[in-house]
Structures are given as structure tokens and as C-alpha cells.
């Protein structure tokens, strides 16, 4: 017990004396937490710039454009004389899409000749284009309806009758857990723990790797009286406590301060966060055990940490990936965390419903127990090659 305490004190001294620890454990995570949540602000981009090509220029088409502009997410910033000008503006990045009303639209509509309007969205900017697409399609549907509706009203139909004629079937959408379609909820809930997990990988690898690199591994082991378990606990405990503090801060910030949906309550998410940090530390020990050269270990940690974001399935679903990757995704603690977050916070099911992922995270956390023997041999014999 005392040896663990001594090693922990030694570790705290190291952490204080080298600025990189302060950076990786406190400063950079805090910056990322603030940066990403403030970047997304209210969670839905508003007033996305849209172009308009109105070659018809009648009161009907002008009212159509006004309707489009009135949508919260769309803002018509510029009128263009023709399609090639609008296309050029699209290429210059001034707008994310444009709405095209050809000449004679109103006349054709009145003559019942079925004019065609078109809208272009630049899907190189997927989020912006998807949002604009939704508004432009809605306006186009309404435009078709507007003509018929005025006829129906003139015939004495009530509003209910008119709507029942125009739209017999409507879709009533109930997005589960995130009814506002808030992008911050969708992204930050996994991105930020992912960044924290990346730093846990790195600090774990760095702290053990520098012992090897500087030739202080023996002294570290001697302090633990040659017991690798004590040595590891003493070393990882202070780091765990700092990261735990950061993780708790993040959880409380997301669910307590920003009020992101958390149907399971904050304590459950705190527990999941603790599991993620322990799992990341466990995996970090594995990284440095297999690649004891500091730079290789850190490269491995970066690779795994950065790939976590993609393979967690938060942005692009894992089920749409290659079957091989669907299996590989389970080797990333963030994937388990993401599934637990969806299960608990978003859908509000008990933790027991997603037990396999809890066990998965625990397995990562217990990796050092299995690897300790190997690590001990390595610490005693490995010669650092610069």
C-alpha cells in the first residue's frame, strides 16, 4: 500500500514538472469542450445562404421566393440573372444551393401546362445542403398546392377540406430523444468523450513510454518492490483521478448545464464515463506493451484515438460499413461508449439492457491484469532504440 502511495506521489511530481501533462489532461480537453459546444451554438445552423434565379418575375414567383426566405434555416442572399451565374456563385462558395424558376412558370401554371421549377443543392457540404433541400422541397410542394387551394377556397371548401384534398396523407415525425434535430446533441455527446479518450490513450502511453525511454523503468519498479501491479496502480491512479474529474466535468456540463437529453439521469452517464476512462487506460497499457518505443506507442494511440470517431458510428452508421469494419469497430472503447450513451441517455433504457457493452468496456479496463507479466519483463529488459 505504501509503495503504491510513493509511486503515486512520484507520478504527481512528474505530472506537475512537465507542462505536457497539464496540456493533455486539462488545458486541451477543456478547450475542446468549450470549442465544439460553442461552435454549434443552438444546434441548428440558421440563415444558410441560398441563391435565387427568378426568370419569371411575377407576383406568384416573388411570393414563392418570400416563402422560401421566411424559413428559419434559409436565407436568400442573392438573385442571379441566370443559372450559370448561380452555378459560378456555388463554385465560389457564396451559396450552398439555388432555386431556379424558369421564364413562363406562372403563365404555364395558369394554362395548366405543368411548368417545372428546379432546385440545386451542393452536397459537397452535406449538412448545409440537406437542410436547404428540405426547405426548398417543402416550398415546391406548397407552390403546387397554392394554386389548387385558391380554387378550392373559391368553391367554398373549408380549410380542413382543402388540406384533406391537397395532402390526404401527412407524415407525423417523432424523432426519439432529439426532437429538435439538434446537431450539437448528435455530435458533441460522442465527439467530446472521444477527445477525452484520445488524451487518456496518449497520457497512459506517454507516461509509461518515457520511463522506458529515459531508462527510469527499473527505478519505478524498485519503488513498487518489483510488483508490476502495484507499480501500474500507483502510476495510473493519479492520472485516473484527473481524467475522472475532467469526465465528470464534461458529463455535468453536457447534461446539467447545456441540458442535452439524458433520460437515464446524470449518475448513470457518470458511471459510463468512468468505464470509458478506465477502458481507455487499459487499452493504453496494451498499446505501450506491444509497441514499447515511445513514438510507435504514441502513433498507435493517435491512430486508434482518431479512428474511434469514425468507427464509433456516430456520424456514418456502422451497419453501412464493410462487414470487416463492423467487427473491428468493437475494438474501440468509444464504440461501446456510444452504444451505451444511445441506450441510456438518448433512449432511456436501463444500463442492463446494454450489458454486453458494459462488459466490453470492463474487458478493456482489465487488459493490464493480463498484460502485467509481459510489461514487467519488458520494463526490465527492453533497450530503447532512439
Amino acid at each position: 500500500m505504501r509503495s503504491i502511495f510513493h509511486i503515486a506521489i512520484r507520478e504527481i511530481r512528474i505530472m506537475i514538472s512537465r507542462p505536457i501533462y497539464g496540456f493533455a489532461m486539462v488545458l486541451a480537453p477543456l478547450f475542446c469542450f468549450y470549442f465544439l459546444t460553442s461552435l454549434m451554438g443552438s444546434g441548428l445552423p440558421t440563415e444558410l445562404p441560398l441563391g435565387l434565379v427568378d426568370n419569371d418575375g411575377t407576383s406568384t414567383t416573388r411570393s414563392l421566393a418570400r416563402n422560401l426566405d421566411a424559413f428559419q434555416q434559409t436565407s436568400i442572399v442573392q438573385q442571379y440573372a441566370n443559372v450559370s451565374e448561380a452555378r459560378s456563385a456555388l463554385q465560389e462558395g457564396d451559396i450552398y444551393g439555388f432555386y431556379y424558376i424558369p421564364k413562363g412558370t406562372t403563365r404555364k401554371a395558369q394554362r395548366q401546362e405543368i411548368p417545372t421549377v428546379s432546385f440545386y443543392s451542393n452536397y459537397s457540404y452535406l449538412v448545409a445542403a440537406s437542410l436547404l433541400y428540405r426547405d426548398m422541397r417543402m416550398v415546391s410542394e406548397l407552390a403546387g398546392g397554392a394554386a389548387t387551394r385558391s380554387v378550392l377556397y373559391a368553391k367554398g371548401a373549408t380549410e380542413g377540406q382543402a388540406m384533406a384534398y391537397l395532402q390526404p396523407i401527412v407524415i407525423d415525425t417523432h424523432p426519439i430523444g432529439n426532437p429538435w434535430l439538434n446537431y450539437a446533441v448528435y455530435l458533441c455527446n460522442t465527439l467530446l468523450p472521444g477527445i477525452l479518450s484520445l488524451f487518456v490513450f496518449m497520457v497512459t502511453v506517454y507516461s509509461i513510454g518515457t520511463e522506458v525511454k529515459r531508462g527510469t523503468a527499473r527505478r519505478w519498479l524498485t519503488l513498487a518492490q518489483g510488483n508490476i501491479h502495484r507499480a501500474l496502480v500507483g502510476k495510473l491512479l493519479p492520472q485516473f483521478l484527473v481524467f475522472l474529474l475532467m469526465g465528470m466535468l464534461l458529463t455535468v456540463y453536457l447534461y446539467g448545464y447545456l441540458h442535452f437529453p439524458c433520460r437515464c439521469g446524470i449518475p448513470t452517464m457518470l458511471l459510463v464515463m468512468v468505464l470509458l476512462i478506465m477502458a481507455s487506460q487499459g487499452l493504453g497499457v496494451l498499446m505501450i506493451t506491444f509497441l514499447p518505443t515511445l513514438r510507435l506507442g504514441l502513433s498507435f494511440a493517435s491512430l486508434w484515438g482518431v479512428l474511434s470517431f469514425s468507427l464509433s458510428g456516430m456520424s456514418f452508421p456502422v451497419m453501412a460499413m464493410h462487414p470487416l469494419l463492423q467487427g473491428v469497430s468493437l475494438l474501440f472503447p468509444l464504440r461501446h461508449y456510444f452504444l451505451l450513451y444511445v441506450n441510456c441517455a438518448l433512449h432511456g433504457y436501463p444500463l442492463s439492457n446494454a450489458l454486453p457493452y458494459v462488459i466490453g468496456l470492463l474487458c478493456f479496463a482489465l487488459l493490464p491484469v493480463v498484460l502485467a507479466g509481459r510489461l514487467r519483463v519488458l520494463l526490465l529488459t527492453y533497450k530503447y532504440v532512439p
Binding site: I20, C32, L36, S38, L39, M40, T46, E47, S88, L90, Q91, E92, G93, A109, I114, P115, V117, S118, F119, Y120, S121, N122, Y123, S124, Y125, L126, V127, A128, A129, R137, G144, A147, G160, A164, Y165, I169, V170, I171, D172, P175, I176, Y186, L191, F199, R295, L298, G305, G313, M314, F316, P317, A320, M321, H322, L325, F338, L339, L346, H347, P386
Partner: protein, 418 residues
């Protein structure tokens, strides 16, 4: 006079050449640096393209609760099942059963058709279909919503035609759509994820690997140096410009083939968008790579140890991707962060490259970004010169001090102690 100028010139070129070759050799001999200069730029684009190569989500499994059990509701569901986006995986007796499927993550959404569906339609009343998409991924939501919107609009059109009692086909068409519309997904026709994300990632890889590689090389130089300096003291490391240009040229030489591979070969291999003019692309990428090199050399002034640059740099990829305006719309980025983003070459690089590569913009259409990159290249050149100048000066000072200390110790030893 002329002779002195000539010898000076020759000496400069020789030093320049020496530093260039020395840097090239240390980079290519150091496996740590090679990971970032070769392995990562070669492997990462492949890895990312492989992850996103399917571009879109198809056949999202969805549970159905059909309380109407009528021919109309069955027709609706048949059309839903026929869409590419959604697959009906189970017909449930009630919502409880459907919820269980969601809970087990077998279904990613529920479609509920109310008992009154067919009756409402036959009575000419409006009816609604309820959908409950899983919001753990926006693409599930999008798939479910798109499938239902498309099917309901098509059925609405059919119903209107049935009710209208038209006599001619043209009248039917008018009833369906008094004003028709067509949607064009320009510059990314399949609405794909890879086509949207990969170009930005490619640009980012260049900047990040340069930061890592140059940082690691600088850290190594410091670790090998007795006084932890960036530059050694020898007869070749005398001129500031020779050092900065010599090193930059070495990195540039390494990154020319890398850039050709990353921007030329990778998009081709995964048939990503690549409709820009190669000349414009080339002209755009030159300032980008130069700006990245000097940016990396400036940042490398902060690196004390070989490995710390990994911890300093890697995490920044995530914020840099978001700040660039591709994944999060640039027009929605708060003022403060937009100003911060101007510090990084990747911001202009991504914006310009995406437009040239994905939407065939010409160089004059991305001239703001192009000039900004040149400006950054110049600014970071001066900054990196300042970093190296400080390093050279303190190196000289330290060596002089050390030498003086040695000499005084020698004289002390020479004197007989009283």
C-alpha cells in the same frame, strides 16, 4: 569586391545544399519521422475511404405497426419497402412489440399506421402516418423521413387523381402536380458521405503529418544537441536563410510525390469526385504545401522533445475539421472561431480544394483562398525565420559561455592555489 561576393554566393549555395541533404537524410533515416511523412499519408486516405466507401445508408431496418390492416395501408407499406432507404424488418402487432425491437437495436425506427387510416382517406379526411426514427444517427432519420415523404407524396398524387374524376391524361398530370419540380444534387450526385468528408480529410492529412513530422524532426535535433537547441553549431549552420530554406526544400521534395498520391491517386482509386482542372489544382496546392511547411517549422519551435509534438498536434484534427466550414456550415461558425480559423492553412486549403476538386471551380474563383495561402506562406516563413534566428543566437551564446567557462577553469587549474 566581386570576388568576395562570388565566394560568398558559392558558400551560401554549398551550405544550403548541405543543410538540404542533411535534413533529407535525417528525415528518411528516422523511422519515427517516416511514419508521419510516408506511412500516414499513404495509409490514412485508404483507411478513411474504405470506412466511408459505401457513401450512403441503404435498407435501414424498420418495424411496422399497421393498425389499419387495409388494402390502402398495405399499399403504402409495400411502396415503403420498395424504397432503397428502408427495409421493413418486422410487422408488429402493437407498439410495445415494435419498441422491444428498437430496444434490442434490431430496428432503427417505427412506422405506425393508425386504425383510421383507410377510413379517413375514404371519407376524404386528412390522415397521418406516424414515424419514430432512431436519432442515434442522423442518417437513420434521413432515410426514414425521405422514404415516407416520397411514398406519401406519390400516394397523395394518386389519390387526388382518383378523386378528381378527370377525363384526359393531361388533366391527371395537372392534378398530380400543377407545378412540377425537380431536385438536383449538384457536385455530389449520390449525396454520399465519402464525397463530402474525404476531400477535407485529404487536405488535413497533409498539414497534420507535416506538423507531426517536422515537429518530431525538430524534437530529435534538440534531443541530440547538447544544449537542447534546434540547430547545431558548425560551419554550415551559419546563415539563417540557408537553414530555413534548406530545410523547407527538403520537406517540399518529400511532399511533392505525397501530394500527387493523396490528391491524384486516392480519389481516383475510390472513384470520388475529381472534376477540377489539374492545372488549377496544382497551382492551388503549391501555396498550400509551402504554407503548411513554414507553419510546421514555426510550430516546431515549441517542441522540446521528440514525441511531445504527437500529443500537441493529433487532437487538433477534430476542431480543425469542424472550423473549416465543410462539416459544419461556414456561415454558421461564430465570429471568434472564424477569426481563429484564419491562423491555419487547412482552413483555406480545405475550402479551396473542395471547390476546385468537387465543383470544378477555377483558380480565379478561389482567389481569396489562394492569396490567403500565399500570405500565410510568407507570414509563416518570417515567423519560422524568427524561431530559427532565436535558436541560432542562443546556441551561439551558450557555446560561447561554455567555452569561456572551460577556459577560466583551465586558467584556474594552471594557477597554483595559494
Amino acid at each position: 569586391m566581386l570576388n568576395r561576393l562570388k565566394t560568398y554566393w558559392i558558400k551560401s549555395c554549398l551550405d544550403w545544399n548541405y543543410i538540404f541533404r542533411e535534413e533529407l537524410r535525417t528525415c528518411l533515416k528516422d523511422p519515427g519521422v517516416l511514419i508521419f511523412f510516408l506511412l500516414v499519408p499513404l495509409a490514412y486516405p485508404l483507411l478513411y475511404s474504405f470506412i466511408y466507401t459505401r457513401e450512403v445508408v441503404r435498407e435501414v431496418p424498420v418495424a411496422v405497426v399497421d393498425d389499419s390492416q387495409s388494402s390502402l395501408s398495405r399499399r403504402y407499406l409495400r411502396h415503403i419497402d420498395a424504397t432503397a432507404d428502408v427495409r421493413l424488418m418486422a410487422h408488429c402487432a402493437n407498439m410495445e412489440e415494435a419498441r422491444t425491437l428498437m430496444r434490442q437495436r434490431d430496428a432503427y425506427g417505427i412506422i405506425y399506421i393508425p386504425e383510421s387510416f383507410s377510413r379517413d382517406l375514404n371519407r376524404h379526411q386528412q390522415t397521418s402516418v406516424r414515424i419514430y426514427p432512431d436519432m442515434s444517427g442522423l442518417l437513420y432519420y434521413k432515410a426514414l423521413l425521405m422514404a415516407n415523404t416520397d411514398v406519401s407524396l406519390a400516394m397523395n398524387a394518386d389519390i387526388k387523381v382518383e378523386r378528381a374524376g378527370n377525363t384526359t391524361e393531361q388533366q391527371d398530370k395537372v392534378t398530380e402536380h400543377p407545378i412540377a419540380y425537380e431536385e438536383v444534387s449538384i457536385f455530389n450526385p449520390q449525396n454520399g458521405f465519402a464525397a463530402f468528408l474525404i476531400p477535407a480529410v485529404l487536405i488535413l492529412i497533409i498539414q497534420q503529418t507535416l506538423l507531426l513530422g517536422v515537429g518530431m524532426s525538430a524534437g530529435t535535433a534538440r534531443e541530440h544537441n547538447a544544449f537542447r537547441h534546434l540547430t547545431p553549431i558548425d560551419k554550415h549552420h551559419t546563415g539563417l536563410l540557408r537553414i530555413v530554406f534548406g530545410k523547407a526544400a527538403a520537406y517540399l521534395l518529400i511532399y511533392i510525390p505525397i501530394a500527387v498520391y493523396v490528391f491524384g491517386v486516392v480519389p481516383h482509386m475510390f472513384s470520388l469526385n475529381q472534376i477540377g482542372s489539374p492545372i488549377d489544382l496544382l497551382l492551388f496546392l503549391i501555396p498550400y504545401i509551402i504554407a503548411c511547411i513554414f507553419f510546421a517549422m514555426t510550430v516546431s519551435g515549441l517542441v522540446r522533445h521528440r514525441e511531445t509534438c504527437i500529443i500537441l498536434v493529433v487532437f487538433s484534427s477534430v476542431p480543425l475539421l469542424f472550423i473549416s466550414g465543410v462539416s459544419w456550415p461556414g456561415s454558421a461558425i461564430p465570429e471568434l472561431w472564424r477569426h481563429l480559423s484564419y491562423v491555419f492553412p487547412s482552413t483555406f486549403g480545405i475550402n479551396g480544394f473542395v471547390r476546385i476538386n468537387n465543383s470544378a471551380a477555377t483558380l480565379s474563383q478561389v482567389q481569396n483562398e489562394w492569396f490567403a495561402l500565399w500570405l500565410q506562406a510568407i507570414a509563416y516563413f518570417f515567423l519560422s525565420a524568427v524561431v530559427y534566428r532565436r535558436s541560432i543566437r542562443s546556441a551561439r551564446r551558450n557555446v560561447a559561455q561554455h567555452w569561456r567557462a572551460l577556459r577560466s577553469r583551465k586558467t584556474e587549474q594552471a594557477l597554483p592555489t595559494p
